[in-house]
Symmetry: C2
Subunit: 480 residues, 2 copies
Amino acid sequence: MSEAVTPRSQDYSAWYLEVIQRAKLVDYGPVKGTMVIRPYGYALWEQLRDQLDRRFKETGHENAYFPMFIPYSFLQKEAEHVEGFSPELALVTHAGGKQLEEPLVVRPTSETIINHMYSLWIKSYRDLPVLINQWANVVRWELRTRPFLRTSEFLWQEGHTAHATPEEAHEETVKMLQVYADVAINEAAMPVIPGRKSNIEKFAGAVQSYTIEAMMGDRKALQSGTSHNLGQNFARAFETRFQNEKGELEYVWQTSWGMSTRMVGGIIMTHGDDKGLVMPPRLAPVQVVIVPIWNKEEDKPSVREKVLQVEKMLRDAGVRVKSDLSEQETAGWKFNEWEMRGVPLRIEIGPKDVQKDAVVFARRDVPGKEGKQFGIPTAEVAPTALQWLVDIQAALLKRATEFRDDNIIDVSSHNQFREVVESGKWARCWWAGSDADERGLKEETGATLRCIPLDQPGGAGRCFLTDAEAKEIALFAKAY
Amino acid sequence: MSEAVTPRSQDYSAWYLEVIQRAKLVDYGPVKGTMVIRPYGYALWEQLRDQLDRRFKETGHENAYFPMFIPYSFLQKEAEHVEGFSPELALVTHAGGKQLEEPLVVRPTSETIINHMYSLWIKSYRDLPVLINQWANVVRWELRTRPFLRTSEFLWQEGHTAHATPEEAHEETVKMLQVYADVAINEAAMPVIPGRKSNIEKFAGAVQSYTIEAMMGDRKALQSGTSHNLGQNFARAFETRFQNEKGELEYVWQTSWGMSTRMVGGIIMTHGDDKGLVMPPRLAPVQVVIVPIWNKEEDKPSVREKVLQVEKMLRDAGVRVKSDLSEQETAGWKFNEWEMRGVPLRIEIGPKDVQKDAVVFARRDVPGKEGKQFGIPTAEVAPTALQWLVDIQAALLKRATEFRDDNIIDVSSHNQFREVVESGKWARCWWAGSDADERGLKEETGATLRCIPLDQPGGAGRCFLTDAEAKEIALFAKAY
């Protein structure tokens, strides 16, 4: 049965939890806080993964794989790192029928074990840069979990690079942030804002963290990818050194950067509507669904033949297409089902369409008649579908960008800040506060400093809180 | 420095361990029994993975991802399964700063957790078949480990399917075995023998296990991929049932099948020689390496230009090509290095080649002058290289097949069996022995029943051990 989901406008959280299960993206695992990524959800992740992986390789990175079990002592070598991650660690204490001498940490991230290996591999400036990425599962034992957004185990990629100079490390950090922004904006149609994290919000062990911040449909922020300049912090902890051109030993300069299955949640919460998911065409596991409309038994053979003909034309044109030829469900049921699952473009084919040698197109993102076009000649199906997919992708990005811009408010006083945050919107403001000021705002309003955008107006202004001169604007919001 | 590796003919085990490290395929992880898969090794795994993944999708399977942590009680539900895997389990006992109420097993394989989910998802015959594959890391705490062949953590894929009838499950089991054989033979150039496992050697929890068995360069057998018919064993343990067309509740019929990073070890040990690795062209991360030969400074610009021109021609033709333009090493050093790393085809370009607008080809698998061809015109480089890669692939398979056939000996007496096994070869024999007989032979000779080949001569013979009438021949060998 395809019952309607709770409308997004009525209860956002219920909508999210219902739609991801109903669309068979995900299910709950038997252990609290874990998720099962079902084929439809995994196919979305595969599309995202392939887009990232291609860009990583184009920018000179190679994939590798490091062990998941890390000696506990490794984490203790970098003080901020162990402090940040200790509360979330899962520990293996027994293996092969025996208690282990030292407990093993199931990786929450791999800076420590990778530095251990880099310290063995890197000898000379000729070995640099090292540009490695890993696709892996990681474990962070969280108290409050939500599928895709925060789960005790999740899938991600983590890039780990080592460089001869701080300038190179900085350049790499920003370059990979831009790769994330490119994928988010141009593949996922998520108009993210790239920026720098504040001191409080940075990664445990980093010198500087960068982020892409996205606005979800309920206007909460989602940190969707991060890129860290690690400086020499881990290199010092692990003695990762190289001989420079002058023959001197130096610590390497490092970066790390990651994007995870959290992005799947981000895509859903950016584009979904009351009817369910809306997949951005470039990442949609199914870009086009073909639904036959047959009331009489005698119509079935000719309609089915037409469906398969159109399916082949689309597949040959490189479109990810599916025909729903099942006979147990009505066409109306199928429309609802595939709308709920977010397929960007539906093609309907009935006996009259067969006669006219034409088909009907319906856009997922434009409901009702407005999004429909009748009488598209069969011969034009493939080029028209390709164009519609481009149009839908652009329309989703445009809509999300307008929504984002409508919900970011320039703020110049503490009172106004409170009001804006209270209303669920983002506050953009000149900022020169201290770490304590930032913590105070979080306690008072629940809003955190999401980022100091890379794109700055320039000049200076007055900090809305302290009235001190501020050189940068910052974005504050409640976040997932 | 590119020092020579221990020759394979001198000490096979030392050769293997040296060459995989020297070629930067792998390194030892900090925790005993773990490995780091380095970029060159991971790139080989990616090629293999893509070939498998494409075939899984072509045969109707979808990828998904299930949690790595399995409640200990799940394993206990299937008696043989827990007995088989208990000695190798790694247990998470603490997480998020607390002791867990029930220890969690880090998956050694996922039949149990997947059945738990299938029991929730499968209701009716309309939900069948379920054809799911997972790419994942698994953990089996082994006492004696060796990179790629047996490590406490490894990467693999595990297919898990559920069907309405035992016939379908059997068909799926054999179909996926054939997919493995296809990939091994036609991509990895490993002439594996597909067959059935004996009762003793089957997977813990299976009704019947199938395997592809490969002969390594030292003539030991390597189980390179397995496909299991699980019958209803796990379905009964987890109450995985469906309503059939008559409205009756039935347990589903299941299969599982897996191939792992062990195959990387298999490829190395099948084709490698005294100089190092020999990569089969279809899976080689680098299929062609171009080495410039420049003695005088003035030759460098024109040689470099030619190298880059040829590189582009090959890349445009879809060849995975690398130019080694580093100036720190001599051409001779580079020859040795890329031979050691197993690149199937080397192209040499010097100043005279530039003048003649031609290049030199050298095959990795045919040493010395015999494998070289001079004066290949630049315009013909791409088609010639593609043809050589095909030829090299075929030559590797032919050589491995001849080696295999030379080392499988038909055996008709217990004495002869002992001699053949003692000499390191495989014994092929009519077999009608009991489980106890099979165990006796293992204790006596170290040989195990590798498989009962699918390809049987037909008819009947006398069991070499018991003299009873035997309907099948079996293969026995020492194995990794």
